[in-house]
């Protein structure tokens, strides 16, 4: 009887342990399948994570917005709205403290700080981490620096799928090639 009881509880634990990663997968897949793809101009830099392996941190061109509201606080939630510009890149339209009632796509992130002198609120887009094979992360950063030296303007961007405020970073592209392949070619 007692064994039965313990085993039932164990099964519940098993379900919970399976549920968490599965739910993560389903959430991300839903965005990838039904979300709209945006290109965000970005720069990669190279840190690490002790458990999840090497990744490159992405520094996006969209990282601040002018706001007359001066009551922004650090770590406060901020909704960042954007649309596609004529070149197909994501362009910031507005920021707000609460979700707005309009059809535009948005992501939710946190305020870094508010600069009172130029009425600028800064933030980091939440999809700023791209995991790479451990020996590719550093070359990827270097590859980006080399790619920047050519005549084209910033030709590195992140391909991000967005749906209902959820964003999934699919790939980072340099000169129209996936960054992992780009590093391998070089």
């Amino acid at each position: 009887m007692k064994l039965k009881y313990i085993f039932t509880l164990f099964i519940l634990v098993v379900i919970a342990q399976l549920f968490v990663p599965m739910q993560m997968i389903f959430g991300q897949e839903a965005v990838l399948n039904n979300g709209k793809a945006y290109k965000f101009r970005t720069q990669p830099v190279d840190p690490s994570d002790p458990y999840r392996g090497k990744y490159i941190t992405l520094r996006y061109d969209i990282n601040a917005a002018v706001s007359v509201d001066s009551t922004w606080e650090r770590k406060q939630d901020i909704y960042v709205y954007f649309e596609e510009d004529s070149l197909g890149f994501a362009k910031l339209t507005e920021v707000s403290k609460a979700p707005l009632v309009n059809a535009k796509d948005y992501v939710k992130t946190q305020v870094n700080w508010y600069n009172k002198y130029d009425s600028n609120v800064t933030f980091n887009l939440p999809f700023n981490r791209f995991y790479m094979e451990e020996n590719k992360a550093k070359p990827a950063e270097d590859a980006f620096r080399i790619a920047q030296r050519d005549t084209l303007p910033n030709n590195t961007y992140a391909l991000v799928y967005v749906k209902d405020g959820e964003a999934v970073l699919k790939d980072v592209i340099i000169n129209e090639i996936s960054i992992a392949d780009y590093v391998e070619e070089k």
């Binding site: 085993f7 509880l9 164990f10 399976l18 997968i25 999840r52 990744y55 094979e133 451990e134 999934v168």
Partner: protein, 428 residues
């Protein structure tokens, strides 16, 4: 030591100290005890093996295999998790030995962490490290109770501490309140341990690790008013000391008394720091404080005070042992210090002196060399500290050192003589 005793048994029987029957019983007792030991060793190696394999898995997965498709990566993410779950399920269903429970549980613990990490990689989920740790720890907490696993309980405590440090110290602005929830989840397990096997090794490991974890993390809770850190720690050490005097802990050996040792030692170190005037000058500058920090300090104080009252009710407190009340005195001093910085400095110095003498007296009464010298070390440290900020002449300082040095010799010598005379009395 046991084998030594067994070897001496024939001699004892020969000289009619014990009967043949008793000798046989003693031998049997130690043999039955010995048969437990290899099993325990096996458990330790099983757990170590699982930890290594688990950590190795996490590292291998962290390589981020680019060449595999998303599906294969996902399979890799779930494979260790499911293997771990099957192993644990098998141990529970077949009622396997403790070794099985511990080893499979630890493996599953790391498999859970690996699978969440792997999914984060596949989809580039940025989620913060602390959230990841929290979900991981919580998903494995029930296993502690289902498997009755000491190793998992230890991992829970260690990882919860890592979580609190990453959340509190790294962020700076937020207190890791959920760490307290994690500790509460572990508490029933710890209490059962204390009740069922108060003298077991695993219990004494917890008697040390739990207070150490609290000492490490307490500072993370004080985010706004750094001056309160001092007060909260002195109360925490007072709480530890009084907890250590509870009947359940007080009858243990010194190496098992984590609370008492850490409480006493921590109190002395903090008092030594507070014997400098600049500490009180900092306190003097405080204009106001409020909020959650004050609540935390009050709660700590009430708990420590409650334990002290309990000790008195159970007649376990030694009325003239200053260590019991230091946290109360220092709290009062802290509030005096808000108005005045000289008297708290002087009183702290006197307190240290009294504590030192107190310890020497306890050492002499109990014929305990460790406690005696502990008291002498306190006084030496106090004198040493005063060398930095007083303008005494070198001659006086030198004389003070010589006097304390002679004190060391004489007290130890007198004690040794006393002990010897006692021993000879017993032998006669």
């Amino acid at each position: 030591m046991n084998s030594k005793l067994i070897k001496e048994l024939p001699e004892l029987v020969e000289n009619d100290v014990i009967s043949q029957d008793v000798a046989f019983k003693i031998e049997r007792y130690y043999q039955s005890k010995a048969s437990d030991t290899p099993n325990r060793l096996f458990t330790v190696f099983g757990v170590l093996g699982s930890i290594l394999v688990g950590l190795g898995l996490i590292l291998i997965l962290a390589h981020n295999w680019d060449n595999f498709s998303k599906t294969i990566k996902t399979l890799f993410a779930f494979a260790p998790l499911i293997i771990g779950q099957v192993l644990v399920g098998f141990s529970i269903l077949k009622k396997k030995s403790q070794t099985w429970n511990e080893a499979s549980g630890v493996f599953l613990f790391f498999a859970v962490g690996a699978s969440i990490a792997m999914v984060s990689q596949i989809y580039n989920i940025p989620g913060s490290f602390t959230n990841y740790m929290l979900v991981w720890i919580l998903l494995c907490t029930p296993l502690i109770y289902l498997l009755k696993s000491h190793a998992l309980a230890l991992l829970h405590l260690v990882y919860a501490t890592v979580y609190a440090c990453n959340y509190g110290y790294a962020n700076g602005s937020k207190a890791p309140w959920l760490f307290l929830v994690l500790l509460l989840l572990l508490l029933p397990y710890y209490i059962t341990l204390i009740k069922s096997k108060p003298k077991a090794n695993i219990t004494s490991i917890f008697n040390w690790l739990l207070p150490i974890s609290l000492i490490i993390t307490l500072g993370a809770f004080i985010t706004k008013f750094d001056e309160l850190i001092f007060l909260s720690y002195i109360i925490l050490f007072g709480l530890f000391y009084n907890l250590g005097k509870l009947p359940v802990f007080n009858n243990l050996k010194l190496r098992q008394k984590g609370y008492l040792v850490l409480g006493s030692f921590g109190t002395v170190v903090l008092l030594l720091i507070a014997s400098f005037r600049w500490v009180w000058e900092d306190v003097f500058r405080i204009s106001s404080f409020s909020g959650k920090e004050i609540t935390l300090v009050i709660v700590l104080f009430v708990v420590a005070f409650g334990v002290l009252i309990y000790l008195f009710l159970k007649k376990q407190a030694e009325k003239f042992n200053l260590f019991h009340y230091i946290f109360i005195i220092m709290t009062i001093l802290f509030f005096i210090g808000l108005q005045n910085d000289i008297s708290p400095t002087i009183i702290t110095n006197i307190l240290l002196l009294v504590l030192g003498i107190n310890a020497i007296k306890i050492g002499v009464d109990k014929m305990h060399f460790g406690v005696l010298n502990y008291g002498l070390v306190i006084i030496t440290a106090l004198i040493f500290c005063r060398f930095f900020d007083t303008n005494m002449s070198f001659v006086i300082r030198g004389l003070l050192f010589v006097i304390v040095g002679i004190g060391f010799f004489t007290t130890n010598y007198i004690m040794l003589k006393k002990q010897k005379s006692k021993e000879t009395k017993i032998l006669k």
